[in-house]
């Protein structure tokens, strides 16, 4: 087991080391204070946070709805939810354009007001991050026996009360997992944002887009900015993500 675990860790850590190796540490300070980078990082954190909140609000009910489905319908619905994961992000961006763009399914009114806005960034991030929450919560639901819910019902509790006091607290670890994955994915989102929302400093140019752009002129600086993103993500995740061992 241990050699494999180390090999697995190396798959992640060697590229990180490679990235670190390309950065002159002197650059790091200057970068974080560079206004473009700071703006992009701020925008990324803000949009990823909102997208994560949306993912919770939309993804949890969706997971419950999926869980309530049966048979083939459920299998298909479950696979449909994974689509944003399978679609290459650029194609995902195109699909978002076809749906929410100016000439998209929802028409000019909606599309026109979304185009090239921060809202579009949030929508793109929500699109790509949603599957993580749905999958995490749905598999946690599938692992539940329903025994506690049944007992709660014999005690006279309404559906809402059972949901709020029995089911959701028990889903705590799954929610944390889903939210952390969603946040990380939203933070790293690049292709769909670029394709659907564009790239304008302070409005739609998130940190990954800034990194991509910086790379054209200064690969070292791009690597440094990536590292700052990684560092921020590590801090956020380490603080927010403590999968609690659910008591029996």
């Amino acid at each position: 087991m241990m050699p494999l675990a180390i090999a697995g860790a190396l798959v992640v850590l060697l590229p990180l080391a490679g990235l670190v190796g390309r950065v002159e540490l002197a650059d790091l300070g200057g970068l974080v204070s560079s206004p473009a980078a700071a703006t992009a990082l701020g925008l990324s954190l803000r949009t990823a946070a909102i997208a994560t909140a949306l993912v919770v609000v939309l993804g949890v009910p969706l997971a419950f709805a999926l869980h309530a489905m049966r048979g083939a319908a459920r299998a298909v619905a479950r696979a449909l939810v994974l689509i944003p994961l399978v679609l290459p992000p650029v194609v995902g961006g195109l699909a978002l354009l076809y749906a929410f763009g100016r000439r998209g399914l929802l028409g000019e009114a909606v599309g026109g007001s979304l185009a090239f806005t921060t809202t579009a960034v949030v929508l793109a991030q929500t699109f790509v991050a949603l599957p993580f929450m749905v999958v995490a919560v749905e598999s946690a639901l599938a692992a539940r026996t329903g025994r506690h819910e049944a007992v709660a019902a014999t005690l006279g509790a309404s559906r809402t009360r059972i949901l709020a006091t029995v089911t959701l607290p028990a889903l705590g670890p799954a929610l944390a997992t889903g939210a952390v994955l969603a946040f990380a994915r939203a933070l790293g989102e690049f292709g769909a944002t670029l394709t659907f929302a564009g790239s304008l400093e302070g409005v739609t140019r998130t940190a990954p887009l800034e990194v991509y752009l910086a790379r054209e002129t200064d690969p070292g600086a791009a690597a440094a900015l990536s590292l700052v993103m990684v560092a921020i993500a590590i801090v956020v995740v380490a603080v927010a993500y403590r999968p609690v061992g659910s008591a029996r």
């Binding site: 025994r147 506690h148 049944a150 007992v151 709660a152 019902a153 014999t154 005690l155 006279g156 509790a157 309404s158 559906r159 009360r161 006091t165 029995v166 607290p169 028990a170 705590g172 659910s246 008591a247 029996r248």
Partner: protein
């Protein structure tokens, strides 16, 4: 139950529980305010019957109705939360994410009590099951018997119209069992309740009616005194801490299938199947050969088990049992052939309907 007690009125719990995959097909009727104790071997279907009544297991067939209102049949089912039927399940199924107090307060809260009132109620119930001061713990931090008591408090605090208790005293220590038995016994006085148990004491403590389940079917049912003192199956007899002698009435005596003649009082007409039930303490024991005391009918059986029980040893034969002095039991070995002396003049009762 006797045909009389079974008359379905408007105010009854009336059910025919069929759960195919568990091979259960049991009929029960219980008048409002009465307590039915359900006896049966492991796997007989007791829990299944309770869970079906509570709405936790769907019926394959049959029906459940309460006070004339249908609650479930093979196609429709009133949700558990609307049935007003509380269930203490065999597994405690405490909510692991809530404190012990919140577990017990769950029922009152669900019925609309304020948070403060519900907590006060919960603390009250916790005290009544002997767990004051445990309210702030998590269920995972309790001993087995403590968890069981919390589950009991939770079920009682919800104050349902009908209470179903699945082995309420399993795992409780002697003191707690006797206290909780008294508590439940007093609560059940005004309440419709079904209680499963493996302990005859429970049946004596609070049963109005007793039903015996075997292989998913109710094989014996009726008023507690009737079923406990006049058991018709070996299992029911064992539950009532009695042994059963079965035979055919012939000339005012009960003649066993092996041909032993047991003088009895009463009993049905000649040719009918009948039984007498004796307490093991009243059964005498002698060697298979040799002199035998008069006033008893002697039935020879092999010793199948010797069970030390405090001051006495219960000697089990293939169908009979006798409590004897340890000194006497020490002379016996498994497989020995001995004679069980059943007292003459026991009350005989019919095994088949007339």
């Amino acid at each position: 139950m006797t045909p009389d007690a079974m008359t379905p009125g408007a105010m009854t719990l009336d059910c025919h529980v069929v759960v195919q995959p568990r091979r259960v097909d049991a009929r029960l009727t219980l008048a409002t305010g009465r307590t039915l104790v359900l006896l049966g071997a492991n796997g007989a279907g007791k829990s299944t019957v309770l869970e079906a009544i509570a709405g936790l297991v769907p019926l394959s067939d049959g029906h459940v109705s309460l006070d004339g209102r249908p609650l479930a049949d093979a196609r429709t089912s009133t949700p558990a939360r609307e049935r007003g039927i509380g269930l203490l399940s065999q597994d405690d199924a405490l909510f692991p994410t809530m404190s012990v107090r919140d577990n017990v307060a769950f029922g009152p809260r669900s019925r609309g009590a304020s948070r403060a009132a519900a907590r006060a109620t919960a603390d009250d119930w916790l005290a009544r099951v002997g767990l004051d001061g445990c309210g702030d713990r998590r269920p995972g931090e309790l001993s087995g018997g403590q968890a069981r008591r919390v589950a009991i408090a939770r079920a009682l605090a919800a104050e349902p119209r009908v209470l179903l208790l699945d082995e309420p005293f399993a795992g409780l220590d002697v003191g707690a069992a006797s206290e909780v038995r008294a508590l439940i016994s007093s609560l059940l006085k005004e309440r419709t309740a079904v209680v499963t148990t493996h302990d005859a004491l429970d049946a004596y403590a609070f049963a109005d009616d007793v039903a015996v389940v075997e292989g998913g079917r109710v094989v014996e049912a009726g008023a507690a005194s009737e079923v406990l003192t006049r058991p018709r199956t070996a299992f029911a007899a064992r539950m009532a801490a009695r042994v059963l002698v079965v035979g055919t009435m012939r000339g005012g005596a009960l003649v066993t299938d092996a041909g032993v003649r047991v003088p009895v009082t009463g009993g049905p007409g000649a040719g009918r199947r009948a039984a007498v039930a004796a307490r093991p303490a009243a059964v005498a024991l002698e060697g298979d050969e040799g002199p035998r005391a008069p006033g008893r009918a002697w039935i020879a059986e092999h010793v199948t088990a010797l069970e030390p029980r405090g001051d006495e040893v219960r000697v089990h034969g293939t169908s009979l049992a006798a409590d004897v002095d340890p000194a006497d039991a020490a002379l016996l070995s498994l497989g020995d052939r001995i004679a069980f002396g059943v007292p003459a003049g026991l009350d005989a009762y019919p095994l088949t309907p007339s």
